[in-house]
């Protein structure tokens, strides 16, 4: 299987889908040159400026126009530049995109994708580094996925583009240069299909995006002590694959839920409830959570490090549920 990085896998997915379906187009700030993460680099050479649209710095118009286009026959893929900026188009996402199909009684489809580069790292500071997926999981009418590997990123983006509903794809910017095998074949990843990233019998770590890698690192360290950690990646939060998560917990009976976003009001809190509902009788210990502190992401490296949940935090949480 070819090896490529996460960003190139997304670029490949865009190329493949734009070749397959002439209705698909990309829009965003600076996407012709693929600034800042390179995902859309070179697309304009193959598809031209009519399908790779550099937009003015007008988040509301970028996202709102995507809905107008989606309702009338196109399939827009919006690059949000940094997910933090989605607040400038929050009406368009939360009121317009999420609700149009429902309020209009199913009269219109809304096949669009919002690519959401997000996440902590490299002193991006408070306006460029936050994990905001929980905001959108709380909005009925949106599908939300969050890949951790290049293969999943490509497969999920392709599925998202083919989906008749609005899908948000959260791309952790710390993962863009992470490499992995990507299948030669199409390899769509369905929404609502979790993936067991590592087998283990003692503790289930449910983790998303960058935290999957921290979870795997924690598992390697703990394996040296004879503790076998299973790492399960939901891959999409809406819809959620409850069955795969629950089946893992029924094998291990102990759970750590790890995410990067703030602890309060988070997706991890919701997953905790899902596990309680599905597996309360199977739990041998209270669920432990790893998440960020309830602060905006700070700038200075030691402060940023404080705000970054890592493998150490996962190791500590695993020890806690094993006590």
């Amino acid at each position: 299987m070819p090896v490529m990085d996460f960003g190139d896998a997304l670029n490949l997915a865009l190329r493949e889908e734009m070749r397959r379906d002439p209705r698909v187009y990309c829009i965003g700030e600076d996407i012709v040159l693929g600034v800042p993460f390179g995902v859309t680099k070179g697309l304009v050479d193959e598809f031209g400026p009519e399908r790779v649209l550099n937009a003015p710095i007008s988040e509301a118009a970028i996202v709102g126009s995507a809905l107008g286009a989606a309702m009338t026959g196109l399939v827009p893929v919006v690059d949000m530049h940094f997910a933090d900026f989605v607040t400038c188009a929050m009406d368009e996402v939360a009121n317009q995109i999420a609700k149009s199909r429902y309020m209009f009684g199913g009269q219109v489809d809304c096949p669009l994708v919002l690519r959401m580069p997000y996440g902590i790292g490299r002193s991006g500071g408070g306006h460029h580094s936050n994990s905001v997926e929980a905001w959108f999981v709380n909005i009925p009418g949106l599908k939300v996925c969050i890949p951790s590997t290049p293969a999943d990123a490509r497969g999920l983006l392709k599925t998202a583009i083919r989906d008749p509903d609005p899908v948000l794809l959260f791309e952790h910017r710390g993962l863009y240069r992470v490499t992995g095998e990507v299948p030669e074949a199409e390899a769509l990843v369905p929404l609502g299909a979790a993936d067991v990233k590592r087998r283990g019998r003692d503790v289930t770590v449910i983790a998303t995006a960058r935290m999957v890698h921290e979870g795997l690192e924690a598992a390697r360290r703990l394996a040296e002590e004879g503790v076998e950690v299973e790492v399960v990646d939901p891959r999409s939060l809406v819809p959620l694959d409850r069955e795969t998560l629950a089946a893992s917990v029924r094998r291990t009976n102990r759970v750590v839920i790890a995410e990067e976003g703030p602890m309060r009001g988070s997706t991890g809190a919701w997953l905790t409830w899902v596990i309680m509902e599905e597996c309360f009788d199977d739990l041998d210990a209270p669920i432990a959570r790893v998440a960020g502190p309830n602060i905006p992401i700070p700038f200075s490296p030691p402060l940023e490090k404080f705000a970054t949940p890592d493998a150490d935090a996962v190791v500590a949480a695993v020890r806690q549920v094993l006590k």
């Binding site: 118009a61 107008g68 309702m71 368009e92 009121n95 149009s100 429902y102 199913g106």
Partner: protein, 315 residues
């Protein structure tokens, strides 16, 4: 256009009565007095052209040719309303006539419109999209973003500001800097027309020019139509913020009476003709009300449908 304006007027008046009688839930904004804008504009469009509307959108939908029965049943919150009771007065859409939605959020249509324009261009369908918005809405950011984008990319969009002098209880003069919405067009390098919005022919002319320009690939235009809202911002609004003289002025400049006079002066309409038109419309509205009254309310569990086109899961 005479019949069109009368259809909007009589529909809105009936809706007000039904609301006062407790038949229609929610909070209701009607467009009594503003008919010339809806009708003059929609008459300049092809049936397959698109319209994006506002919280005060019934008139726009009636003028675009939406079914009165489907609209009325939706206002009642009935299961066979055009949106199955999910939308209601401020969130109605009727895709079958290109009406892509009223909007409960002011100016949102201004940013959806460029996307509709992009899809028109990509499909080479020769359509046009017209978005209505109020003078109050023109002070929100999406208005500026939408006009800029459409102008930048020469998209087939018509921005139509329905200036009825008030944004809820706040006078336009106290909220819009520069004193004119139409003049803002200059900043984006597009035509900005200011017309008497109580003169249906003037609205029709201005919008027709804008539509022709859009269809010819020359890009968007902004039209500001000055009109008067005869009734409260919402039904039940005590209107303490304005004088009675303004409503009297509205009635003096009634767009329907005005066109009727012109038609009679040219012997295009007589008493019998006027009565026939009115009776025909009244019968249509009676039928719409009967349809809405006879329709069932949705089942509570219907609240869980229509969220997604494709559900791969069970919750």
């Amino acid at each position: 256009m005479y019949a069109g304006m009368l259809r909007v007027r009589l529909f809105e008046e009936r809706v007000r009565e039904l609301f006062a009688g407790g038949r229609i839930p929610g909070f209701l904004h009607t467009s009594v007095g503003q008919e010339a804008v809806a009708v003059g504009a929609c008459a300049a469009l092809r049936p397959d052209d698109y319209v994006l509307s506002t919280h005060r959108g019934h008139g726009h939908l009636v003028a675009k040719g939406g079914s009165l029965g489907g609209l009325m049943a939706e206002l009642y919150g009935k299961a066979n309303g055009i949106c199955h009771g999910k939308g209601g007065t401020m969130h109605i859409a009727d895709a079958s006539v290109g009406y892509l939605g009223a909007n409960g959020v002011l100016a949102s249509g201004c940013v959806l419109a460029p996307g509709v324009g992009l899809s028109i261009r990509q499909r080479k369908s020769g359509q046009v999209v017209l978005t209505f918005f109020g003078d109050g809405a023109a002070n929100r950011g999406p208005f500026h973003e939408g006009v800029n984008l459409a102008a930048l990319w020469k998209l087939p969009v018509v921005f139509l500001c329905e200036n009825n002098r008030w944004a809820s209880t706040t006078a336009g003069a106290l909220s819009a800097a520069g004193g004119s919405i139409a003049r803002r067009a200059a900043g984006y390098g597009i035509p900005g027309d200011s017309v008497d919005g109580n003169d249906v022919l003037a609205v029709h002319d201005a919008v027709s020019r804008a539509v022709a320009r859009a269809r010819a690939g020359e890009g968007p235009s902004l039209v500001e139509a000055h009109t008067i809202r005869w009734v409260g911002h919402f039904e039940g609004d005590p209107q303490v913020y304005r004088g009675k003289d303004e409503v009297a002025e509205g009635r003096r400049t009634d767009p329907i009476a005005r066109l009727e006079q012109t038609l009679r002066a040219r012997a295009l309409l007589d008493d019998a003709g006027a009565r026939r038109i009115r009776d025909g419309i009244t019968a249509e509205i009676d039928a719409a009300v009967a349809h809405a009254e006879a329709s069932p309310l949705p089942e509570a569990r219907d609240a869980l449908t229509d969220l997604f086109a494709y559900y791969p899961w069970r919750d």
